[in-house]
Subunit: 467 residues, 2 copies
């Protein structure tokens, strides 16, 4: 380890009390993006973030949008660097704190508490998602700047205030500021570690496709006494179609569904099998005893590298209180697919539609509404930058990072890829039990400190890795 | 035809404009029994009915129940009569009008419209089922009274307000007022004609059983990114269970479902086969080209003497606009059965529950809510009263009535039989395309007039037939 890094890490550690004060100040701002009542709080959080960037040495500004403002900062190093230009993304907005009565202390009055498992934790809405996480990066930059008077890379920062409310302004903003925001690599700190001791880089994200199917039988709802036994029942047809989507073993039966899948590498699969036992504990919390996924597949494989078809909603006929003996004319299902590398959302949806049509009996028709999707994303594990980041995490934690998949989509990563042609390095220090989006959200102070220290090392590693 | 009948029929015809005004006033009352929000409307419909009975000359009253009130009226003829004491039953409550957006005119603002096939029709919720139908009887009584100053029989009237919501108060009410309500024969006007020109007497009714099943998977709704591929999806389980209820040939697969069925007599089956061709036209009107019933069965057999299982409603997960990638924790289906003579509702429901449980995968549970039902019923075609009624209908329509089965249940008929030991004469003037329980329900004004005229003749016929 170079003397320079040692000095930066030392400065960071010495500055922890002040860093914590800054985190507390940030967490006190009620930047709930989904509730218009808190619009001025969102702006205050944006102003606070821009001020913080300026204090560190960034050229920072608050940019208005039709929704909550964006914060943009740029730092051009004084010394020449061969490292990549990075764009760090985070979000200053938070989820609503409801239900309020389940909080032990008020959500916007941060408290340091002692957790039996993790030691000191800070409890507040946004402590982990994403104020605590994004500050780890800014604290790392602050320490770099204070020790060496410079940052080791060209760094841009983009902080959003609508991540928890669907990011309506983000696409147009990226589009309008393409030249300003385009960098060599995006950095995002909004993901978890593997566990309390083990860091992680998220390298695969499942894609998404979705559609709503509406089955129509007779031209109107019918009385089941007058027509039952003769008229086709759209709800029964829908049930039959939906039940045909999977085999008894949980395999999706849409023709061609698995054809183009690029399986993860053997090393990746082996790493996942090694940690599958601890993954199974996720089921306890949701009241299940076993995976309902395809038999013969490991749980992390099912979650990260296998595609799914899910029914997200069903509606047909009479759903009010009591009995109504109707034969419903229409029956609808909202369907979504989690896609894995290789699968093309358009092709999947086309095959799905064909499959559904092939299952319809006489006198039934089907319409598909609101279809769309985006492909899965997988990052190359072999790049210099990925290698440098993995090494930096191992140096800080003393353990090699788990190369994780993520069952869900992270829309910003997809947008960076499709809009700006950038790959993203997803490194975060949250834990699955941080209670994000829930009462008593917390962030471990050790996550806050090690996270910032890890970013010090990653910036150094990227600076040495070239662009 | 006696001069007396001719005079009554003439008075009835002369009074049609006023009769129609009364029907419009009745239809404006939103007496939706299944929705507690409309409780005061149900009471208003009961008050209106009692007032109407009093105006005709009945001793009438509104009787409270734990649910919606009953209306009871009695008329004791001044002149001696050898005819039976009859109890006329109808219901003043109506089905919910949903889906509202499919109504061309508001459901509780009755409109006279011109139908290309039938001439003038009145469009409103309840126009046919049962407000229009029950008024045919009261208008007949009114005409009798106005012409002869008396009624030809001892007549009691019972009007219910919970027929469309399972009649929870009816059994206890019959039980508590057995002596008051017991008559020689019940009359019910809640059934269809055979076709626009041909009257019918309904002599077989399918029974009904119903239940709501609620499948539960995980202990809460889950994010399909974080859990999709691993967590059981309650909507998918429900679809699988429901699709297992029928074979590809439309036969119900619940064990024991067909075991106890008593098939109709050979003569009855032959009459049905003779009119099966015209029965098939019922499909055209609802936009279907073929029966979806069990293959190898005649259409009237499927409708009148074969049992069914229907899905009446489905709901699960997210059903609002747009996409929500949720794995629903619960999924519900409202299910009802049409039963035929021999089938026991309790046994059918027990076998159904067992069947559903047998289809559940690990980690899923099911609850059954609001189960109930009543058996099918069949009447003797050879009684004096049945013969007199058939003759009266032939006199009015110029065609012999079809002795029909009925696919639907009329629980009151079963209760009159089991509680009060009374048979029921089921004569109605609805048509299959009256859109009962559906948007734009209508009643032909010719049905309204001929119906009332037919009751004038039936009352006369019964008075002559003895008790």
């Amino acid at each position: 380890m170079s003397n320079r890094i040692q000095a930066v890490l030392g400065a960071l550690d010495d500055d922890q009390p002040q860093a914590l004060e800054r985190l507390v100040a940030f967490l006190k701002i009620k930047s709930i993006s989904t509730d218009p009542e808190f619009a001025s709080d969102c702006r205050a959080a944006a102003e606070w973030s821009a001020k913080t960037l300026s204090d560190i040495g960034f050229e920072a500004s608050v940019r208005n949008t039709p929704g909550h403002p964006m914060v943009v900062g740029h730092y051009q190093p004084k010394a020449p660097t061969t490292g990549p230009h990075v764009l760090f993304y985070g979000h200053y907005d938070v989820q609503p704190p409801d239900p309020m009565d389940l909080w032990d202390t008020p959500p916007f009055e941060p408290e340091i508490k002692t957790d039996p498992r993790y030691g000191e934790v800070i409890v507040a809405r946004g402590a982990s998602d994403d104020k605590g996480q994004l500050l780890t990066f800014l604290e790392a930059a602050r320490a770099w700047k204070s020790v060496s008077g410079d940052l080791p890379l060209k760094i841009s920062v983009l902080l959003e205030g609508e991540e928890e409310s669907g990011s309506p302004s983000l696409g147009p903003f990226l589009d309008a500021h393409r030249d300003e925001l385009k960098a060599d690599l995006a950095l995002v700190c909004d993901t978890p570690q593997w566990d309390g001791d083990t860091p992680a880089i998220t390298t695969m994200l499942r894609g998404l496709a979705f559609s709503e199917i509406v089955v129509q039988g007779a031209n109107r709802d019918l009385h089941s006494g007058m027509f039952g036994g003769v008229a086709v029942n759209s709800a029964r047809v829908l049930a039959t179609v939906l039940s045909a989507l999977h085999s008894d073993e949980g395999r999706v039966l849409i023709p061609g569904f698995y054809d183009d899948i690029i399986e993860p590498g053997q090393a990746q699969k082996e790493q996942w099998t090694g940690i599958a036992d601890s993954a199974r504990s996720m089921l306890d919390d949701i009241g299940l005893t076993q995976s309902a996924g395809e038999t013969g597949r490991d749980i992390l494989e099912q979650l990260w590298s296998q595609p799914t078809v899910e029914i997200n909603g069903l509606i047909s006929g009479y759903t009010g209180p009591g009995v109504k003996t109707v034969i419903p004319a229409t029956a609808s299902a909202k369907i979504s697919f989690r896609l894995v590398p290789g699968q093309d959302p358009e092709k999947i949806l086309k095959n799905f539609e064909q499959f559904v049509r092939s299952k319809l009996p006489a006198d039934c028709s089907v319409a598909f509404k609101g279809s769309g999707g985006s492909p899965a994303i997988v990052f190359d594990l072999g790049t210099k930058q990925m290698t440098a980041a993995a090494r930096a995490l191992e140096d800080e934690f003393g353990k090699r990072p788990v190369m994780m998949g993520c069952g869900g989509s992270i829309p910003i990563v997809e947008q960076f890829k499709s809009e700006l042609g950038m790959d993203t390095l997803l490194v975060g220090f949250a834990l699955d039990d941080d209670r994000i989006h829930a009462p008593n959200e917390k962030y471990n102070l050790s996550s806050f400190r090690h996270g910032a220290r890890a970013w010090v090392r990653i910036l150094d590693g990227l600076a040495g890795a070239g662009d």
